[in-house]
């Protein structure tokens, strides 16, 4: 048991280091500038922009292959199971399961809030973890939010690294996991060290796989139809996912929509450019 545990940790650290070094390489190659490009207010205006780093995807071939694999996995396995699951288990209970998985990520959020210097938020997350684990019965309920008004402060290592100035690196689409990038993958590996489920996988791999699958099925059962609708509305579903992922991560990094959002309306500054364009063209 001990050796297995040791090997697992060594394996993760090796991957971690490998990815960090890879990330450093790719940043110097220029693919890591995406975040900077997106923060540039003129990006919103694009009309005269010839190249957009937004669309950088050097591993598109491989990524697309994995995308097709995941897409198939969704329709052949996850969706049918989730549909049955949603019919058997009442929605309230599925929400509870989702809360519990979320609660397990508490330590990740506490640590990353700390690493970003957000001490108040770290405190809020600590309070949330304590309240929800006890009063919320192992995180099944969310009394911290309902009773105390403590809103989760979602931070992960990927975001922490971004605030340290590390670019997203190459875009990656992982089998099973889905859209990511080099930085966020490093983040995922790092964060997994703070996730109790990782230690479950060390002692009982099949239980860990089962838990991961259960979490995925449960999450899907709560959002059934969203994936299909998004696919239906897309012209190029793979690209649509890639962009949605980038926008989503960007929002998370700048804490869009929260009180910490410094760039919330920075794009409004370039309004003059847009209106002049409009007059010329109409």
């Amino acid at each position: 048991m001990q050796t297995k545990y040791f090997f697992l940790i060594t394996f993760r650290i090796t991957i971690f280091l490998f990815l960090v070094s890879f990330s450093a390489c790719s940043t110097t190659n220029g693919t890591g500038n995406t975040l900077v490009g997106r923060n540039d207010p003129t990006m919103e205006n694009f009309i005269d922009t010839e190249t957009t780093t937004d669309e950088a995807d050097p591993l598109e071939c491989v990524n697309r292959a994995f995308y097709h694999f995941n897409d198939m996995l969704y329709f052949r396995l996850i969706k049918p199971v989730a549909t049955v699951f949603s019919k058997i288990i009442p929605k309230d209970f599925r929400v509870c399961i989702s809360n519990a998985f979320n609660n397990l990520m508490g330590p990740v959020r506490i640590t990353n809030n700390l690493l970003q210097g957000k001490f108040k938020n770290s405190g809020i997350e600590t309070a949330r973890l304590l309240i929800n684990t006890t009063a919320g019965v192992a995180g099944l309920g969310d009394p911290a939010k309902i009773e105390f008004g403590l809103i989760p402060k979602k931070e992960d290592l990927g975001q922490t690294l971004a605030t340290y100035g590390i670019g997203e690196g190459v875009y990656l689409f992982w089998p099973i996991i889905g859209p990511s990038n080099l930085r966020d993958t490093v983040g995922l590996v790092g964060d997994s060290m703070l996730n109790p489920l990782t230690y479950l996988s060390a002692s009982d791999t099949s239980a860990a796989v089962g838990t991961y699958f259960g979490n995925t099925v449960n999450k899907t059962s709560l959002t059934l139809g969203d994936y299909e609708r998004f696919k239906e509305e897309s012209f190029d579903h793979y690209v649509a996912i890639r962009d949605a992922y980038r926008q989503h991560r960007h929002n998370r990094i700048i804490d869009a929509g929260t009180e910490e959002d410094p760039l919330m309306f920075s794009h409004l500054n370039e309004s003059v450019v847009v209106s002049s364009n409009k007059q010329v063209q109409n």
Partner: protein, 203 residues
């Protein structure tokens, strides 16, 4: 004396009208609310919701949406650098197709959120741009919907909708760029036509 009274009364009335016009009706947040209320009313209308009236309902919704959504601006923004390379007639056709697609997508979204409460949180105005923050509340979950508006000659017009943090126009822009790169402009138009036809069949 009577004359003065009349002048005073009318002055008060005019001022009151102008004031109400400025303070409530022309604020972006109120305009967005008014438009959404009108769409929701059409969607909830029992006569219009009958299957045979579906086309009529859509037509009426489109006319409401058109008063507040600037589809041309949206098309321009989603086509980005490819917009300038096309002829004006291409533009018109593109705007026509794209507005139908956006309509379907937007109305579909509003419909799927029906029964939810919409909160109009705040607006931020900067020169000729405004951002209106709304939240759809349903089953304890909050779905943030942000409208970006531009001041034009016809008033405040929506040029982008941000659903759960994802800008619709930016999402289309990356897709259009990718499709044009691989299948040229004609390929994109073909795909759009197919989608529009599919959307019309579905209703």
């Amino acid at each position: 004396m009577k004359k003065i009274l009349i002048i005073l009364t009318s002055a008060v009335l005019i001022l009151g009208y102008v004031h109400s016009g400025f303070s409530s009706r022309s604020e972006p947040i109120d305009l967005v609310k008014e438009t959404i209320d009108r769409i929701l009313k059409l969607l909830e209308d029992e006569t219009l919701s009958r299957p045979e009236m579906r086309k009529e309902q859509k037509k009426q919704i489109l006319s409401v949406v058109k008063t507040r959504f600037d589809f041309r601006e949206m098309s321009k923004r989603s086509m980005a650098r490819h917009w300038k390379k096309r002829q004006p007639e291409d533009h018109d056709y593109f705007v026509e197709l794209f507005s139908k697609l956006l309509m379907n997508r937007y109305v579909c979204r509003v419909e799927s959120n029906s029964g939810s409460e919409i909160l109009y949180k705040k607006q931020i105005i900067k020169i000729d741009k405004a951002v209106v923050y709304t939240v759809a509340l349903k089953n304890n979950t909050e779905i943030p919907l942000v409208y970006k508006l531009l001041k034009t000659e016809t008033g405040w017009m929506v040029y982008d909708v941000v659903i759960e943090g994802i800008s619709l126009i930016q999402n289309y822009r990356t897709q259009f760029t990718s499709v044009i790169k691989r299948e040229k402009y004609a390929g994109l138009i073909k795909k759009m036509e197919e989608k529009v036809a599919k959307g019309e069949d579905a209703n």
